[in-house]
């Protein structure tokens, strides 16, 4: 039995908390790369929060608004999939919603920001940093994290939006992109604000008991390497410096051109999407940075058969065999409609791989 299996076994049992809790407290002081190296086998983080909701029979909207319900949902998935790392469903509309953007919440699909009401410097200067204890959806998410770490002594992964992604929601993605060139001063002021919002929210998530923080910065994928550093990386670094936990940085899509900048943020883990060729990237990433990814969420996990998932997972694991700093995962958040058999096939293939 590998160490990670023991942690998973202990962490799920209430009566074993006297052992599990000190183990998790100790884990908080260990760098992510060391944890991954000590695990004894490949760890799998499926990013299956939305699939967990589908499995529970309750609606996405209710889960995202009710911390206790989301906890029940995730607890069900932890048992069902036998996870050794627990994570919340990622929701990048929480921060923009708290800052005043209208958010559309379909019953059973991911929510989205439907308007980007801010544009001028005056608008930006009038914005207040939301109090994570007062905003209802920030509170719901922190409550979920609190309940998870009270019930399970597992590595709890939770997080939020990166500064540029939040900025793009506040003023609109095309506007944000153009302003990196046309109005850099305005962008910097906006990003200062966004960094404060992200930092306050993630601090609340840490206080609620998260062991690992996940920052999602998808919209930075549209930037050049140089503007990534200036308009996302520099702020992400400050954000990460403010968080007393290991941080995983995720950028969707083809983020290969941003890798160097991502490494410079101080993130201990980089989560990359299916378009990135992990084995070739692995050579240029320092050993103490963990790579996380990157099974295709659509063509393999959503549309494929369990057989196809097993093949792709094995191929991925084989190609990353030489690298100890690697965690198996889907490239991005799994879609609500992903077949359960496919998620199980991915997790079991990883677990059985030696």
């Amino acid at each position: 039995m590998a160490l990670i299996d023991i942690i998973g076994w202990v962490g799920k049992r209430r009566w074993a908390r006297p052992v599990g809790v000190p183990m998790m407290l100790a884990a908080r002081r260990i760098p992510l790369a060391t944890m991954v190296r000590l695990a004894g086998r490949r760890i799998c983080i499926p990013s299956a929060g939305y699939s967990a909701i589908a499995l529970s029979g309750t609606s996405v909207r209710d889960n995202l608004c009710d911390g206790a319900l989301m906890f029940e949902t995730l607890a069900g998935a932890i048992e069902r999939f036998g996870l050794e790392v627990d994570g919340t469903a990622s929701d990048l509309t929480i921060e923009p919603g708290a800052c005043g953007c209208p958010v559309t919440m379909p019953d059973n699909d991911t929510p989205y920001v439907s308007e980007h009401p801010f544009s001028t410097l005056e608008d930006i200067r009038a914005l207040q940093v939301p109090d994570p204890l007062a905003d209802p959806r920030m509170r719901a998410m922190t409550e979920t994290v609190r309940l998870l770490s009270k019930r399970f002594a597992l590595l709890t992964v939770a997080g939020g939006s990166g500064p540029f992604t939040l900025a793009a929601e506040l003023i609109g993605a095309s506007e944000a992109a153009m302003n990196t060139v046309m109005e850099p001063a305005l962008m910097h002021e906006l990003l200062e604000y966004c960094t404060r919002v992200c930092s306050a929210y993630l601090a609340a998530i840490v206080r609620a008991g998260a062991e690992v923080i996940l920052i999602g910065e998808p919209t930075a994928a549209i930037l050049s390497p140089a503007s990534y550093k200036e308009f996302s990386g520099a702020y992400t670094k400050r954000l990460i410096d403010s968080i007393p936990r290991p941080v995983i940085l995720h950028i969707c899509g083809d983020a290969g051109h941003l890798l160097e900048g991502m490494c410079a943020t101080g993130a201990q883990g980089l989560s990359l999407d299916a378009p990135v060729d992990l084995p070739s990237v692995a050579q240029s990433v320092p050993r103490d940075v963990v790579l996380i990814g990157n099974l295709d969420t659509v063509s393999v996990l959503l549309e494929g058969t369990p057989e196809r998932v097993r093949e792709s997972t094995t191929a991925m694991l084989e190609s990353m065999r030489p690298y100890k700093n690697y965690v198996a995962s889907s490239g991005c958040d799994l879609s609500y409609n992903t077949p359960v058999e496919n998620i199980v096939a991915m997790i079991e293939t990883v677990r059985g791989f030696r």
Binding site: P106, D109, M178, T180, I222, L223, S224, L302, S335
Partner: protein, 213 residues
């Protein structure tokens, strides 16, 4: 001199030099360069260079959007002249991202490059209800362009085509689709007229569908 001005306009758009494009355009007009030449030899050529740079990853989304804004500064001066002299846009294109999908950057870039190529583009934005596309077709758009980046929202495209058929509007309009969630095969499956993988392809596609050289 005239050539210099035209080259300057072209370079200004490629470099995304904002603020002076209107004056440069007026200066070129003053020396006798026809508006239609500024349009085709300056702006359209510039935007196709921008499109190439984007594909080669020399330019990224922000640079393309800023070049487009520079093009618009010049277009604002040219438009009244082109309209007065009876130069019609090649066709009217309506462009939007389907209902439930908020990814609007890709379709913005396609809209910009189509405008650069001489089309009049009406942008419906993102999260566009299927009805809105149908209304645009009823209002005389020759081409309806839809973007979808989410597998969950692409069925909306088939819905729009079905609605167009029900209203008897399907034959009068070309339907093109694009975005990360769709493919050539999907376009055939739902009976769209064409698929474009990027903005340059979108231009070629629209031109060939409308029989424009």
């Amino acid at each position: 001199m005239e050539d210099d001005l035209l080259t300057g306009i072209k370079a200004g758009v490629v470099a995304g030099r904002l603020g002076g494009m209107g004056d440069m355009t007026r200066a070129a007009l003053d020396t006798g360069v026809p508006a239609a030449d500024i349009m085709s030899l300056g702006l359209i050529e510039a935007m196709s260079i921008v499109g190439e740079k984007f594909e080669k990853k020399e330019y990224f989304v922000p640079e393309v959007l800023v070049s487009a804004r520079a093009m618009h500064e010049s277009m604002d001066v040219l438009r009244p002249l082109l309209e007065a002299s009876g130069v019609e846009p090649l066709a009217r294109v309506t462009m939007g991202t389907v209902k439930g999908d908020l990814h609007d950057i890709g379709k913005d870039i396609v809209s910009i490059v189509l405008t650069g190529a001489g089309f009049e583009v009406q942008s419906l934005g993102a999260d566009v209800p299927s009805e809105k596309f149908v209304e645009a077709a009823a209002g005389g758009a020759g081409v309806v362009g839809m973007s979808s980046l989410l597998t969950t929202t692409r069925p909306r495209m088939a819905e729009v085509i079905r609605l167009l058929e029900e209203r008897g509007l399907r034959d009068g309009v070309k339907v093109i689709i694009g975005g990360a969630a769709v493919t050539e095969g999907f376009a055939n499956e739902i009976g769209a007229d064409g698929y474009g993988a990027d903005a340059a392809q979108a231009v070629r596609l629209v031109k060939s569908l409308l029989g424009i050289q």
